[in-house]
């Protein structure tokens, strides 16, 4: 059997060196083929060097360790490297995924090395099912879009969705109107409507989504046409017939 080979991926140079030094002691015959500073580099290095193992830090900028593991798939045995995280460790244990804790003590690393040696001959297991769960546990996100990237001239602003009065579709993009003014979001109204919290954002027209918390009143004229008046805005927003049922007669 040929010697075991590995790649180390961590965004911090010192931690890469530390792991390399620790592995040299705990597993002298393991050959480190390359180091990577982020997920994308790790994926490329795996393709290029075809190692039997890849040590992946989970928290890396750009493509993180979990995404990299997904891209690497069964090309190499993945060993996650993580600073303490109870949830991640629980998930690793249950999914029988190999991991190394930072800072790694020599005994723990030696034990991991023993286990890995035994496994290295068999094909790498598929991690797909556990990766999804890990991603949810490690990077908690709220369910709906909270911050919008909106461009205004050549600056990009982050706008919190709670500050939005309404969205108006504008050819390919969407105009976002707030108390302070307006900007352009590079998403279609349709994309936005699926990402925004439907409890607070209602589509009232083919081309308009309104933040219902910024509505001050809804008026209707004799022909039944309804219009919305908004906090801190002078213009009114029309409600089309299709969506008129959202606002019952007052």
């Amino acid at each position: 059997m040929k010697n075991a080979t590995a790649i180390i991926a961590d965004d911090e140079p010192m931690l890469r060196k530390q792991l390399r030094a620790a592995l040299a002691q705990a597993w002298p015959e393991l050959e480190i083929l390359a180091e990577a500073a982020n997920g994308a580099e790790a994926v490329n290095a795996v393709r290029e060097h075809r190692p039997s193992l890849v040590f992946l830090d989970i928290e890396m900028p750009g493509m993180n360790g979990l995404e990299a593991a997904q891209a690497i798939g069964e090309q190499a045995h993945v060993v996650f490297v993580t600073a303490y995280d109870r949830y991640a460790v629980e998930a690793f244990e249950r999914g029988a995924v190999d991991y190394v804790l930072k800072p790694a003590s020599m005994e723990r690393l030696a034990e991991t090395a023993r286990r890995l040696r035994a496994r290295i001959g068999s094909p790498a297991p598929a991690l797909d099912s556990i990766l999804g769960e890990l991603a949810r546990r490690i990077a908690p996100t709220s369910d709906h879009l909270q911050w919008l990237q909106a461009s205004l001239g050549n600056t990009i602003k982050l706008i919190n969705v709670d500050d939005v009065s309404y969205f108006q579709s504008d050819t390919k993009y969407t105009r976002v109107v707030t108390r302070d003014g307006e900007a352009l979001v590079k998403k279609t109204l349709r994309e936005l409507s699926s990402e925004l919290d439907p409890r607070h954002f209602w589509q009232v027209h083919r081309g308009t989504i309104v933040n219902i918390r910024s509505i001050t009143s809804v008026s209707s004229d004799d022909t039944g046409r309804r219009e919305i008046t908004l906090k801190d805005r002078t213009e009114k927003v029309e409600v089309s017939r299709t969506f008129a049922h959202l606002f019952k007669a007052s």
Partner: protein, 381 residues
């Protein structure tokens, strides 16, 4: 047995009526209707007596009008007719006041006068046909008197209705404003609690600690002189960060020191490829400032701005502007175009600012097209 004698018929009818009203009316209108129903049912004998007393007086009045009605039954019938109208209008003004204010009132006024003029014209034509009198005999003076009286009555009735309605509208507006204020206060209190909880959860962040310790371990192992510096910064960080979690207020100076300790640690961890600039004037350093907000912005600048490029600058500056404190965190990293979307850190800062200062505080973030991000917190001094 007639249908209305069947057991439960009236109860069912009433239930149906209630259901219909509940569907048509808004919740507060329905509540008022229920209230009216209750009052009428409780005292219906008294209400009926009052009504009849009014009608009798009205009938006598009608008989006294010179050239008015020639028999008591006609006058009584007329008094009842007008009385019913009056009751309906008063009820409408009191309970349906929304119809009698603003633009809808103007439209209703036109309808009202139109109906009266039309009724007058109908009466004249009816009189003409019933008594076989030609139109020419309807003396113009008499017609103008009738029209004038009708219009005057319309104006008086309308003025009465709209003033009642306007009073009611004002009352309702005040009640609404009061309710809204209460709801707003309640919402803010809830928000503060939630934000505090999130803050606690967010701040128990062992990742940073263990990653830093892993670095220290390596530095010690390799006998690097940086080990001591790293430990000192970590101690400074923990000394400031740990009591923070429960404290409600801090000073800008403390927050800046926390950020400095964090940035120094990150500079060592990044192999020196980080330049730090912190300028907080002496006077502002003593100013109260909410805890763990500045550090969140600085962490973001590292995580999303500088770390992806593995080098860069982060600067923190504070100044007083027109009774407010403005704190800016600027980096020359990748910019916000790539990352974020559903992050909880910034939302947490935003919620806490809103809970603490309401409209008085703000949080802005922007990037230039080529990269670099500028985050700004403004709080009242």
């Amino acid at each position: 047995m007639p249908v209305f004698r069947q057991p439960g018929f009236w109860k069912r009818l009433e239930a149906r009526g209630d259901a219909w009203a509940a569907k048509r009316l808004s919740p507060d209108e329905f509540a008022e209707a229920v209230d009216l129903d209750r009052r009428l049912k409780a005292n219906w004998v008294r209400w009926l007596l009052w009504y009849f007393a009014g009608i009798v007086l009205f009938t006598i009045g009608l008989m006294l009008i010179k050239g008015g009605f020639d028999s008591w039954p006609t006058a009584f019938l007329m008094a009842n007719l007008l009385g019913m109208c009056g009751v309906v209008f008063m009820l409408s003004a009191w309970y349906g006041y929304r119809k009698w204010t603003g633009a809808r009132a103007r439209r209703n006024f036109v309808l009202f006068v139109g109906a009266i003029l039309l009724g007058g014209a109908g009466g004249i034509v009816g009189d003409m046909l019933a008594n076989h009198r030609p139109l020419a005999e309807m003396v113009p003076e008499k017609m103008s008197t009738i029209a004038g009286t009708a219009l005057m009555m319309a104006f008086v009735a309308f003025a009465l209705i709209t003033s009642i309605a306007n009073l009611r509208q004002r009352d309702s507006n005040q009640r609404m404003a009061l309710l809204k204020g209460e709801a707003e206060r309640e919402r803010l209190a809830r928000q503060t609690l939630q934000a505090e909880l999130k803050l606690l959860q967010a701040q128990v962040e062992p990742h940073f600690l263990f990653n830093t310790l892993a670095n220290v371990r390596y530095l010690v192992q390799t006998n690097s002189p940086d080990a001591l510096a790293m430990l000192d910064h970590l101690i400074a960080y923990l000394r400031t960060a740990l009591p923070e979690i429960r404290s409600e207020s801090s000073t800008l100076g403390r927050e800046a020191e926390l950020a400095r300790a964090y940035l120094e640690i990150m500079r060592l961890r990044m192999g020196g490829e980080l330049r730090i600039e912190i300028s907080v004037p002496e006077v502002l350093a003593r100013a109260p400032f909410p805890p763990l907000m500045l550090i969140t912005l600085v962490e973001n600048a590292i995580k999303h701005g500088v770390a992806p490029l593995a080098k860069g600058n982060v600067s923190i500056s504070a100044r007083a502007v027109e009774g407010r404190i403005e704190v800016v965190v600027e980096d020359d990293g990748r910019g916000i175009a790539g990352a974020v979307g559903r992050g909880v850190g910034l939302t947490n800062v935003r919620d806490r600012l809103a809970a603490l200062f309401g409209e008085g505080a703000r949080l802005d973030l922007e990037s230039r097209e080529g990269g670099g991000t500028r985050a700004r917190i403004v709080v009242p001094e």
